[in-house]
């Protein structure tokens, strides 16, 4: 898809590395992706294939990258400023690591608000907690007093505090039960409609991807091996061998299928 004024996010020939010399990991290899404004773009693929690293490069957490990343037509350098985080927010894959263990929910949600000068942070916290399905009784709890799913809802609430335009969602519902997942996915859809948001969504659940996304890219070993529309995914029409295998495996556990799975490089 060519770049245009409709492009919210452009990634061209992105390479990301960790470390130098012999021990270097080349985690993302020549990835190019264009996401239109208002679109939800899916990223799926093998564990360790570089999905989170792509999101981390966009959000400035993985610094050793080459290629081009542009948000709303503006090329990004290595550093990200305050304005960037008002436009782009990330929900991390690992809600345990990303919540400060000694900060209450109130403090976790309040801090970005105060840094970015939101007035009436308290009211915003209350409404955002309601939005993610947590009652006011959760406001002064610590992470260890929350279940896994409750923590992830706090992480999503934190990303929404600044009303960003682009949300990078790394497995936002894989720690949630299916009914909370449905609530969160409905919430994300509603916010998208109301605020014209753009999402990049990493998920292992192809049904979630089909439900949420317009298009998706399939990654393996740091590369994008195939781009599909959600309709192509629904009709199970992949061309790439790895994608085909992914679709087979998504039908459910089968001991014999497990033995037939191949590793692709």
């Amino acid at each position: 898809m060519p770049e245009s004024s409709e492009t919210a996010l452009l990634i061209e020939h992105l390479d990301v590395r960790f470390g130098k010399g012999d021990g270097a990991v080349h985690a993302v290899r020549d990835v190019s992706v264009t996401v239109k404004r208002g679109e939800t773009f899916g990223l799926v693929g093998e564990s360790g294939s570089g999905k989170s690293t792509v999101l981390r490069a966009i959000s400035g957490l993985a610094k050793d990258w080459t290629g081009r990343i542009a948000v709303d037509g503006t090329d990004l350098g290595k550093a990200r400023d305050k304005a960037f985080y008002e436009k782009v927010q990330m929900v991390f894959q690992d809600p345990y690591g990303s919540l400060h263990p000694r900060h209450t929910v109130d403090r976790t949600l309040g801090e970005p608000g105060r840094i970015h000068g939101i007035t009436d942070v308290g009211a915003r916290i209350e409404s955002i907690l309601r939005d993610v399905g947590l009652g006011p009784e959760f406001r002064f709890r610590f992470p260890h007093q929350l279940s896994g799913g409750q923590r992830q809802r706090v992480a999503i609430a934190r990303a929404l505090m600044l009303e960003p335009k682009i949300l990078l969602l790394d497995e936002p519902t894989s720690a949630l039960d299916v009914s909370v997942q449905a609530e969160i996915l409905n919430l994300l859809q509603r916010l998208k409609r109301e605020f014209g948001l753009t999402y990049i969504l990493v998920s292992h659940d192809l049904a979630v991807i089909a439900h949420m996304c317009d298009r998706l890219a399939v990654m393996n070993s740091g590369r994008v091996v195939e781009e599909l529309t959600a309709d192509q995914l629904r009709r199970a029409e992949p061309t790439d061998r790895y994608t085909k295998q992914l679709l087979t495996a998504s039908l459910g556990y089968n001991r014999a299928t497990a033995d037939s799975l191949l590793t692709f490089d």
Partner: protein, 287 residues
């Protein structure tokens, strides 16, 4: 019939705080034989606390009570902390829901698995390393040598989960409690990793408590399912029959799943009935 590997009768877990008590688990009874028992239920329904209770891992101020907790002829309720430690990580292992949180951040992945193995087997450092590399390969880590020398923050979410699984399988436990062990894995790697666990159950007679949100996975992978709500077991059935479950709560969970073959605008969500919490709960023991 012989006694099940694990029998739990009347387990409750409470967290008292200043003005109220959180009843995380309320008087549940279940058993695990040399089989795969799935535990499903919404977030906060008490799945993790159930698993942790079996291992004596509920921290104060949490209070655990039960009429009975028998593991392979051992009365878990009567064990001292030291005796419990011997069982833990030796005969019963738990893969925690939060892999990175459970790994030591300043120690390489390889050293941590080595240690788990050496404590259990008394093997030499060299043998332990070989065994660790073997396990990393078994859980489909692509470059075991690199990951052996990596720190937890240098591996992906799904790699962290596989490292935890490798570490917990090293001592060859009789009972594995796996809390969302594969939620960060793509479906192909997930299937390969589960095949290893499956083989341990069918070939070595390990028992498995498989805590998961993934109803389709539980239906296809497990033998039996226990469904939890509000700290209770509200229903139990054969895994293969999960899609025909009867309780409105279970039906609500199933209805909220997105489906590749059936697009909808809005996903249906659960409407919780007050009365569910007042039900007596079901006994999920097979004795």
């Amino acid at each position: 019939m012989t006694a099940p590997l694990l029998e739990v009768d009347g387990l409750s877990v409470r967290f008292p705080s200043r003005n109220r008590v959180v009843e995380a688990v309320r008087n549940i009874s279940f058993s695990v034989g040399r089989e795969k028992v799935g535990i499903v239920g919404e977030s906060g329904s008490g799945k993790t606390m159930t698993g942790r209770s079996v291992l004596g891992l509920i921290r104060p101020p949490g209070i655990v009570t039960a009429r009975k907790m028998m593991f392979d002829g051992i009365d878990l309720l009567a064990l001292s902390e030291k005796q419990m430690r011997d069982i833990r990580g030796n005969r019963i292992s738990m893969v925690m829901q939060d892999p990175k949180f459970s790994l030591n951040p300043v120690m390489t992945v390889g050293k941590q698995i080595d240690e788990a193995y050496r404590v259990h087997s008394g093997a030499s450092a060299r043998d332990a390393k070989l065994r660790t590399l073997e396990m990393l390969e078994a859980v489909r880590i692509r470059d075991p040598e690199r990951v052996y020398n990596a720190y937890p923050h240098e591996v992906s979410g799904g790699m962290g989960q596989r490292i935890m699984i490798a570490m917990m399988l090293v001592p060859e436990p009789d009972l594995l409690i796996a809390d969302e062990p594969t939620s960060a894995l793509d479906v192909t790697v997930q299937m390969q990793v589960l095949a290893i666990v499956d083989d341990l159950v069918s070939q070595r007679g390990m028992g498995l408590m498989f805590i998961s949100h993934d109803l389709n996975l539980v239906a296809s992978f497990c033998d039996r399912v226990v469904i939890m709500y509000g700290g209770q077991i509200v229903e139990t059935c054969k895994a293969a029959d999960l899609h025909n479950a009867q309780h409105p709560y279970t039906r609500g969970l199933l209805a909220s799943l997105p489906r590749v073959d059936r697009p909808v605008d809005q996903l249906s969500t659960l409407v919780r009935e007050e009365s569910w919490k007042l039900e007596p709960g079901v006994d999920a023991r097979i004795l």
